[in-house]
């Protein structure tokens, strides 16, 4: 049995909050640079250039990539041979507060969703998972709400065709339009239950944009990306062929009576950071 202290978890989460919010993911930056280079539309190229410059300024000057430093989503994958000494949930939330304060990030969290009132830094939305091994993988994914607001779930009939599913995913992107900071990264969760499909859609955004899925869904991802990029929404919604940088799909077994499909859109500032301790 390996023992990991709550303090270690707190400090690691704090560090990940800072890293995720200040340093744009390498794969995202790489894809932005690639599409910027190939872009012919003058306005779109200018906007993509500003997005890349923004990431550079954020990293060098230690400023948040975006003022919406998100609702911190924390994924904790705990090896079954690990024992945590202390309160793990408290450690994660304390880590979030520590990291957000240290990097002067935004206190965007409202304690009561109905009464609203004063905002703070925590709590995070935490997803715990038990996995094999004697390590803990921590992932911090600050999700901006301009794009989170555009997420949708649809419970299809099990007899629904791929055409209908594709149409729904494209409609969700269309509905987001120019509002949620395109070019987007489109996360899709197919299968499981209503809640699980939504979680899969979010988790899909954590997969590197240049990494193919292990399953046969990659063709669907490529086709969807091509169709989404025909919508002519473009960077800042001002047109062009770069409405999305990638479509990432995750699937899971489901029930004979259903076919849940969830879409979680990310703005171009897709931020996350992981570490294994």
């Amino acid at each position: 049995m390996k023992i990991i202290s709550a303090r270690k978890i707190k400090d690691t989460v704090a560090e990940l909050c800072v890293r995720a919010n200040l340093i744009l993911r390498k794969d995202v930056l790489k894809q932005l640079k690639r599409v910027c280079l190939a872009e012919k539309n003058k306005t779109a190229k200018d906007v993509l250039g500003a997005i890349i410059k923004n990431a550079q300024i954020a990293r060098i000057e230690k400023l948040a990539i975006c003022q919406d430093t998100g609702l911190p989503c924390v994924f904790v994958e705990i090896g079954q041979n690990v024992r945590v000494a202390g309160d793990i949930r408290q450690a994660v939330n304390q880590g979030v507060v520590l990291g957000y304060k240290k990097a002067y990030l935004r206190n965007s969290i409202i304690a009561d969703p109905l009464k609203r009132a004063k905002s703070g830094y925590a709590p995070a939305v935490i997803h715990f998972d038990i996995v094999k091994g004697d390590k803990i993988k921590l992932t911090v994914f600050p999700k901006g709400f301009g794009c989170e607001n555009k997420a949708q779930l649809k419970m299809f009939k099990p007899t629904a065709g791929i055409k209908e599913i594709k149409k729904f995913i494209i409609e969700v992107v269309k509905a987001a339009g120019p509002d949620a900071c395109p070019p987007y990264i489109v996360g899709v969760g197919i299968g499981g239950t209503a809640d699980y499909a939504s979680l899969l859609a979010k988790k899909a955004l954590l997969r590197r944009l240049d990494q193919r899925p292990k399953t046969k869904d990659h063709r669907l991802e490529v086709e969807l990306l091509r169709e989404i990029n025909k919508l002519n929404i473009g960077p800042m919604g001002l047109g062009g062929k770069n409405t999305a940088l990638a479509v990432n799909i995750e699937t899971y077994p489901t029930h004979i009576a259903g076919l849940p499909v969830a879409v979680n859109i990310s703005c171009h500032a897709l931020r996350s950071a992981s570490v294994i301790i």
Partner: protein
């Protein structure tokens, strides 16, 4: 004189704004409109002013402001006509506006501007001064006066009601 300038701007035109703008987003809008409806005095005279839909991060030590990009404008749609009626001259944000907002912009000869969305670090470089104005209890949603220099804008909806995103 400023009003005259707003009227000559054309949708799609790129401009660089120097002067004072005021941050206000969801909760500040709600309060401003409630104040107007109650017939009370606003904490900020809106006449000839430009509102920036923005809630910055905390201000890092030694900096004027933290990351400060635009937030989604459509959430402010239901409050916008009332503020324009009170004399507001322009708004800066990101994304589309409702038909009602476009009509109100035309009616009151105002303008809606876009700025680089998701580029808060970059935009902070154009802010020269920051001063609290109202609703400090709202934290990141408080109203601040920002003095900006060459702040990059694109005219999204001009005083004639022409919309960069076409008809909704």
């Amino acid at each position: 004189m400023i009003r005259l300038k707003i009227e000559v701007l054309k949708t799609g035109e790129r401009i660089f704004l120097s002067g004072k703008i005021y941050t206000a987003r969801d909760q500040a809008h709600k309060r401003l409109v409630e104040t107007i409806r109650a017939g009370k005095k606003l904490p900020l005279d809106l006449r000839g002013k430009i509102i920036y839909y923005c809630g910055p991060t905390q201000t890092p030590k030694g900096k004027i402001i933290g990351s400060c990009g635009p937030t989604t404008s459509s959430r402010m749609d239901e409050f916008t006509a009332a503020l324009l009626k009170a004399g507001l001259m322009g708004m800066i944000g990101k994304g589309s506006r409702s038909r009602e907002v476009v009509a109100a912009i035309k009616k009151y000869k105002a303008a809606y501007f876009l700025t680089y969305a998701g580029c808060g670090a970059l935009l902070s470089k154009y802010v020269m001064k920051r001063k609290p104005v109202a609703f400090q209890d709202l934290g990141p949603e408080a109203i601040y006066e920002l003095e900006v220099k060459n702040f990059p804008l694109i005219v999204g909806i001009d005083a004639s009601g022409r919309n960069i995103y076409g008809k909704e």
